[in-house]
Symmetry: C2
Subunit: 166 residues, 2 copies
């Protein structure tokens, strides 16, 4: 027996969990030419972890110098972002602004408001990112020669804007 | 001119915002016999505030003694909850557990895991609650004589379990 009294930390049981129990990955589905700059962010797929199918909930950690994605807009899917930790720059069509923890932003399907989150600080940024899975979604990228179309298998096909494979 | 230097607090601009800018309400669509106990929680409809339609994002504040809802399960809609502040009791079919800030829980459509969040502390609990809008949803309530069916107008119709109006 230990002479130390352990502080009891309650571990959540399913269907609850601690996000740190979910594998973190910097995988990106972007094609090779656009991949590297998008791998300075790490996702934990919280929604998939508990079997959700109608929408995704990602805990996204952006390391210093990283971005959440390229600036983009969805045609058919809504997106919502809640800032958990850190100071993050939100870039939209109108320019940029700094968001602090507790602030949030939403991008309705088809609004055309191309957005990304950039970490210009020396600390990690953590975001909760929610997006649904509506079919026929397309993603436009105003700043890179890339376009994505959601396939019936739930995966995006990436091409150049003129439709060449990437 | 003031002799004080004001600390500049950046105010977020659309499509970003501060949740405190969104009206908080303890409205519940529950029928009268089940209403009072469900009004000790206050919602800010963050997703609607920015025009999202595919899913809802609510910032739910449960005051001491309150509940998020009656224990319930959705037939067609996914639900996800992230604990922002406070210590909250999650009740499910299997019993109950305490969740702390940063923990989360997910309830896939049709899983039958009836759940609610209860505040037994002396401080407010704040949750981020996400649910989609899939049609034909039904909600079952194992502990009260109530049943809800989502109508084509996006509103739930409440009856007793045997179908009597409530």
């Amino acid at each position: 027996m230990s002479e130390w009294t352990m502080t009891e930390t309650p571990r959540p049981k399913p269907p609850a969990f601690d996000p740190s129990d979910v594998t973190e990955s910097n995988f990106t589905s972007y094609p090779a030419p656009h991949r590297a700059v998008n791998q300075m962010r790490y996702n934990r797929r919280l929604g998939e972890h508990v079997g959700l199918k109608n929408f995704g909930v990602n805990l996204t950690r952006i390391i210093p110098g990283g971005q959440s994605s390229y600036r983009h807009a969805h045609s058919h899917q809504d997106e919502f972002v809640y800032v958990l930790d850190g100071e993050v720059v939100l870039q939209t069509n109108a320019g940029e602004q700094v968001l602090l923890p507790g602030m949030c932003a939403g991008f309705p399907a088809g609004c055309g408001e191309a957005h990304r989150f950039v970490n210009r600080t020396r600390s990690d940024v953590r975001l909760l990112v929610i997006g649904d899975r509506t079919a026929d979604d397309e993603i436009t990228y105003p700043e890179v020669d890339m376009h994505a179309v959601l396939g019936p298998d739930g995966k995006y096909r990436f091409t150049t804007k003129s439709g060449e494979p990437l």
